[in-house]
Symmetry: C2
Subunit: 138 residues, 2 copies
């Protein structure tokens, strides 16, 4: 299993505060002979008739020397995991968890807006000091 | 600009042998304030009525300790560059260039087949010793 991201526990705490139950840490997926590990699986009970909302969350710190390289790496994991999830557990939605500061820097800039407008990526942002979710972009 | 991949020149030679003219090395794209660099741009004249075929090629060596991590990184670059290209130069097609051995190992396995069947990625494979193209998967 890969090493945990430095913000793994902050995101876990933030999700719990947001009403989610952590069900997998990590969530493992097997495609053929290859194993993939997504950081967290979580569930939340919706209004009675709507059932259970299930998500998978991959946490990325974006603390490398190049934010474009960090973005590429996060995007590659997201696309690979999303495709794998859609085969194995199509009712679970994948989110990339990033700090609110990264959201403002990259995803309010043209390059990130392009990815959001084209529905390439889904985001949840968090405040790492307060350990709270700041926004969901499904 | 990022460092060249170790197989950059082998792919360039293989493309030239395959009838392509290298037009950019690298091909740069600007999205807002961020610069992206794709390894190569190339063109080939088609049969008279069909005009010019234009491609961009990103070369990935896949020599890291984890082939899944290498795949994620390549995939992230591919998806980011393909989206950027489609905004700026929509008639140019992006390919990921990988060694034939990597094609056989990853893209004939379930995880790679999944990405090809879903049209997430386009590949060109090459033989690094002979410096020739071995297949195109558009």
């Amino acid at each position: 299993m890969p090493a945990k991201d430095i913000y793994h526990d902050a995101v876990k705490t933030a999700l719990i505060k947001d009403g989610w139950t952590i069900t997998q840490d990590p969530l493992s997926l097997r495609i053929g002979k290859k194993d993939l590990f997504i950081d967290l699986g979580a569930e939340k009970l919706l209004a009675a008739e709507k059932g259970l909302d299930k998500i998978a969350v991959e946490v990325k710190s974006f603390v490398g020397p190049s934010e474009i390289r960090d973005l590429e790496n996060a995007l590659g994991q997201f696309v690979l995991y999303e495709n794998a999830l859609s085969l194995i557990e199509p009712d679970r939605t994948l989110y990339l968890a990033i700090r609110e500061a990264v959201y403002l820097d990259l995803f309010e800039a043209e390059i990130g807006k392009m990815l959001l407008e084209r529905n390439i990526i889904k985001l949840v942002s968090f405040n790492p000091e307060q350990e709270v979710i700041t926004r969901w972009i499904p």
